[in-house]
Symmetry: C2
């Protein structure tokens, strides 16, 4: 079976591990969000791609869900001694190596998709990992606090401010002029099913869908999503702050309606949301907590089963 998944960071990566567990023989292409990418210390950092790569490649810090296992922080300590910031974005020494290799290749002229492929030569994630685009797209958030009204990089809002200041709007700068990375549209067109993992519907899946051509290609396929909202709250992270910014309720039903029946065919919600009903979308409920690989595999299997049911 040919599967395409549109993934953000932690939630997407954990779901993908379950998907690989339950469907190891499948041909899986992951289209990763790059709207969270940021340049720090002169290095290009792709948090979502790396989280997927490290998680599936066995290098993730399991407790925090991002960054490398067995990490050290000597470089960070030294940069602080040079008074070079920002200090709020934590980078470990092992993680730095990834960004150094990536930046060196980008500076040499390789597109991000080729760089990602080269990095995956080491990590062997078991999926084909593609950035949504080779073009630069950066999610910015308009906020207003004591420093005034201004747009900040998504990471500054998310990591430094912990999304504690309300987002007045969220924009994917550069998205409308971006082209899908080589292979993205082809993989979607060839897919038997497209899965939307329980990633952030606004700044992860939403950003991927904002790249011209991707939404239409996905909409033409059998698409099943897994709700990132359980009982009116995000399972993890601060997706509610993003949903509020774009005027969408933090509920499984509202997120499905936001994706819309033109895009989404099936929607997997938690048993807590069993009453969910969305026009034009087939809803199924089951436990959605990704407590371990086994449980996550069962969620992924349910998504594939629903896709099979809908496409038959």
């Amino acid at each position: 079976m040919r599967i395409v998944a549109l993934a953000g960071g932690i939630g997407g990566a954990r779901f993908l591990r379950g998907l690989l567990h339950t469907a190891p023989e499948s041909d899986i292409t992951v289209v990763g969000n790059t709207g969270d990418d940021i340049s720090l210390f002169g290095l290009r950092i792709c948090p979502d791609l790396d989280t997927v790569m490290y998680t599936l490649g066995g290098g993730i810090n399991e407790d925090q869900g991002w960054g490398r296992a067995d990490e050290t922080f000597t470089l960070r300590e030294e940069l602080a001694a040079y008074d070079i910031g920002p200090a709020w974005f934590t980078l470990g020494d092992r993680d730095f190596a990834t960004h150094i290799v990536r930046t060196q290749m980008l500076d040499a002229g390789y597109p991000l998709s080729a760089v990602t492929e080269a990095l995956c030569d080491r990590w062997r994630p078991g999926v084909r990992l593609l950035p949504m685009t080779d073009d630069r797209v950066e999610t910015h958030v308009v906020i207003e606090d004591a420093d005034g009204r201004r747009a900040v990089h998504f990471q500054e809002w998310w990591v430094r401010l912990h999304a504690g200041v309300p987002a007045q709007s969220i924009a994917s700068v550069g998205a409308e002029d971006a082209k899908p990375a080589p292979g993205v549209l082809e993989a979607i067109e060839a897919a038997d099913v497209v899965i939307l993992p329980p990633s952030n519907p606004v700044v992860s899946v939403g950003t991927i869908l904002a790249v011209p051509g991707i939404r239409a290609a996905v909409a033409a396929k059998t698409v099943v999503g897994v709700s990132p909202i359980i009982g009116g709250a995000p399972v993890r992270g601060m997706a509610d702050a993003c949903l509020t910014a774009i005027g969408v309720d933090t509920s499984a039903a509202a997120v499905a309606a936001h994706y819309g029946p033109d895009l989404l065919d099936g929607w997997l919600v938690d048993t807590a949301d069993a009453e969910t009903d969305v026009d034009g979308i087939a809803v199924r409920s089951r436990p959605l907590l990704m407590t371990d690989v086994e449980a996550t595999g069962q969620i992924a299997r349910a998504a594939l089963d629903l896709a099979g049911e809908l496409s038959s």
Copy 2:
């Protein structure tokens, strides 16, 4: 007293520590060699400037004479896991931070002299450290081995090949078009004495003197050198391999004659070389082993005394 010293790496840095010890009230400007600089992993590395900065700033690895004390090597291990080389140039995590800060500033448009000043804000080396030039000068070495005749970067010859393959010639690529960094000529012109520490006379001091304008400015002053050769062998390093490449004997006398009486006024040699006699240059002998800061301070003091004697 205003002192200018032209310094390479380890030998120069250790001498400078003795100079600061014996003449703490002096106004010392160090003109550092940048011909050994190299770009690796997309980062700009200035080994000689860093060795001076770390040594005088208290951050040097005392045993090896270069690199940082209390160093870790996580990043190096990760780069190797990515199969990204070269592995022969050892960079520690703490050291990497310096190169990341430097590269970020250079990419932002700051000249190397401004970057060096910014790095020294942290290290407070007690001297004014200037690169010889803000322009790119790289020392290349022509060698011939099983891989054929070719020019390699100085670091490849020095570090990877341990100067084990004879150098057929040594060239400072870019030197003839380079301009002295801001402040270099002014510092030399204002100096009471210019000191040539026991640095490599070819690839360290020689490279600095190859930047147009520097040699003439130095020659106009009272100049005292400290021989890097004791009893026909370099005190440290492989200066003999460099001297041989340019047709100069490995002896205290030959190095002084190579600098020449137009440049050099006084020459400090080891007691082992007390018989040294060079036309037009005042030679003094004393123990030259820089065994500790105290002994090194006495060598520096002898150089200053000789300069005083010659300029009176």
